[in-house]
Symmetry: C2
Subunit: 271 residues, 2 copies
C-alpha cells in the first residue's frame, strides 16, 4: 500500500531515531524522551498479569482521552509488531517503574529478570507525540525549550472506573500566550491518540492543582507573565489506577521516559 | 444539486425565520439579532461609494479573520442574490449607522431616502452565526442566555491597512469555563466565514482592553468566577476603519443588528 516516497520519508525518520533507539535498548539512554525522535509516536506503558488485562482494557475504553490505547500484546509476548518491527518491551523503555501491591517499588532499566509468561503489555499514546506538531506550527514548547521533563500533576478530575481500576486523571501542563493557546488547542485536536485537545485551560486550582510550580511528576517549567497553563490528559493516569487497584505486581514506564514506536504521529492524526 | 431532503430542511428553517425577516423589513424589529433565527448565517454590512470599493475589498482580503467577505453587490444594486433570493439591503437590516466624514451621524431603520446609484454593499460573516453551533454542542452562550447584545471592544490588535482603510481590530467577547473554552475553540474553528477561532483567550489587558465589564459596543455580560473571556474578531472592525478613512459618506449596520441571510451556517463550515 505504501508508495516509495512514503517509505523513503519514513525510513529516513527511523534512521534519524535509530541511534536513540539503540541507546535505549542498551540501557545507555535512561533520560526523558520529550523533544526526542521528532515525528515518531511515543507511548505510555502498562504491563500487568493477564488476570487483570480485561479490566484494564475496559478502563482504557472508559477513559479514551487519558488512556488512548495504541497497542496491546499477547500474554507473555514481549513483541508489539504493530508499533515496531523488532520492538521488545523488555528493553525498549528508558526506565521502568515496578509496582508491588499498589506501591511504587524498584525502578529498573530492563525487564529481563522480571519478565513472566502471563504479562500483557498495553501501550497508550503520549502527549510528547504532539509536541513535534506544535513546534512545526511555530509554537514554543516550554519543556522542550528548557530541556526539562514535562510538568505532570494529579488533578481532581475523576476517571470512569473499570473493575479494580479507578482514580483521578493525571494531566501534563504546557504554558502558552492566548493566541498560541488557541493554536495549540486546534493542533492537538487532530491527535486524539496522543490525548487530543487539552482538558483544561487557565486557573490550575479549578482542577485541584494547588501549585503549578510544584508538579507531582516531571519538572517545573517557567510560566511567563500573560501566559495561560494548558492541561492535557496524561498517560500517567493508569499509574494512579494501579496504586488504587493494589495489584500484587505491575510495571509501567517512569513518567516522561516513553516507549519510542516506529509509527508516525501523522499516521494517527484525524482531520 | 440539492436533494429534496435538503430543500425541506432549509425551507423549514427559512419558514421559521420568515416572521422575523418580515418584521425587520417593515421596520418593526430594530433590536439586536443575537440568538435569533438560529442556523441562518448573519452578516455585518458595509455600504460605501464605488470609488472606495476597491480599497475596501483589499482591506477585507488583507484581514480575512475580522472581515470574512461573504457577499458583495454590483454598484447601485440593492440585491445580494447569493445571500437571499429577494434580499434588499435598503430595508433588511434592523438599524443602520450612517457615517459622514468618518463621524458617526444619524441612525436609520431603512435606506430608502439615502440610497445612491454608486453604493456598493459588502457583507461580512458574523460571530452570531456560530452561537447556534455552540449551543447545539451543549455550551451556554452568556449574551444569548442573558438576552443581551454581545460585548464588543476596541482592541490594540492592528489590522493590515489597504488604501485609506486602517485601524485596530474590534473583538466580541464570550466567557466560558476551561473545558467549554476548549470546545468553543474547536467548534468555531470550523466556521472561518463567521470569524473562525478566537484571536485571544484570557487577560483582556493583553489585547488592550482595560475593563471587560465596559464594552465599547453592545452590552456587558456576566463573567462568573473561574471563567475565561474568549475574544473573537468582530465585523465591527470596518467601522473603525471607516472612522479612520474619513470617507464623505458610508453606511453600516448598528453593532449587533445584523443582516439575516438565507444561507445556513453549515453551508459555510469547513471540516
Amino acid at each position: 500500500m505504501h508508495t516509495g516516497a512514503y517509505s523513503d520519508f519514513k525510513n529516513n525518520l527511523l534512521d534519524q531515531a535509530s541511534e536513540l533507539r539503540a541507546r535505549i535498548r542498551s540501557g545507555d539512554h535512561t533520560a526523558p524522551t520529550s523533544g526526542q525522535a521528532n515525528s515518531l509516536l511515543q507511548g505510555n506503558v502498562v504491563i500487568l498479569p493477564s488476570e487483570w488485562a480485561g479490566d484494564f482494557l475496559l478502563y482504557c475504553q472508559n477513559n479514551p482521552v487519558a488512556c488512548p490505547l495504541i497497542g496491546m500484546s499477547q500474554p507473555g509476548d514481549p513483541a508489539l509488531p504493530d508499533l515496531g518491527h523488532d520492538l521488545d518491551i523488555r528493553t525498549d523503555v528508558p526506565e521502568y517503574q515496578v509496582f508491588r501491591n499498589g506501591e511504587r517499588a524498584e525502578k529498573v532499566t530492563d525487564l529481563k529478570s522480571l519478565w513472566q509468561d502471563d504479562l500483557v503489555t498495553f501501550v497508550l499514546g503520549c502527549s510528547f507525540s504532539f509536541e513535534d506538531a506544535l513546534i512545526r506550527a511555530g509554537l514554543s514548547v516550554r519543556n522542550v525549550d528548557e530541556g526539562r521533563n514535562v510538568s505532570m500533576f494529579r488533578s481532581n478530575i475523576a476517571t470512569r472506573p473499570a473493575g479494580r481500576f479507578s482514580g483521578n486523571m493525571v494531566v501534563s501542563m504546557r504554558p502558552f500566550n492566548g493566541a498560541d493557546a488557541i493554536r495549540a488547542i486546534q493542533i492537538t485536536t487532530r491527535l486524539p491518540k496522543a490525548h487530543g485537545a487539552p482538558v483544561h485551560i487557565g486557573d490550575p486550582a479549578l482542577i485541584g492543582i494547588q501549585d503549578v510550580n510544584q508538579p507531582d511528576f516531571g519538572d517545573p517549567v517557567t510560566i511567563r507573565p500573560g501566559e495561560l497553563p494548558l492541561f492535557w490528559a496524561c498517560g500517567v493516569t493508569p499509574q494512579l489506577a494501579l496504586e488504587n487497584a493494589r495489584l500484587p505486581f505491575a510495571i509501567t514506564h517512569v513518567p516522561g521516559k516513553m516507549l519510542l514506536t516506529e509509527r508516525l504521529n501523522e499516521e494517527l492524526a484525524v482531520l
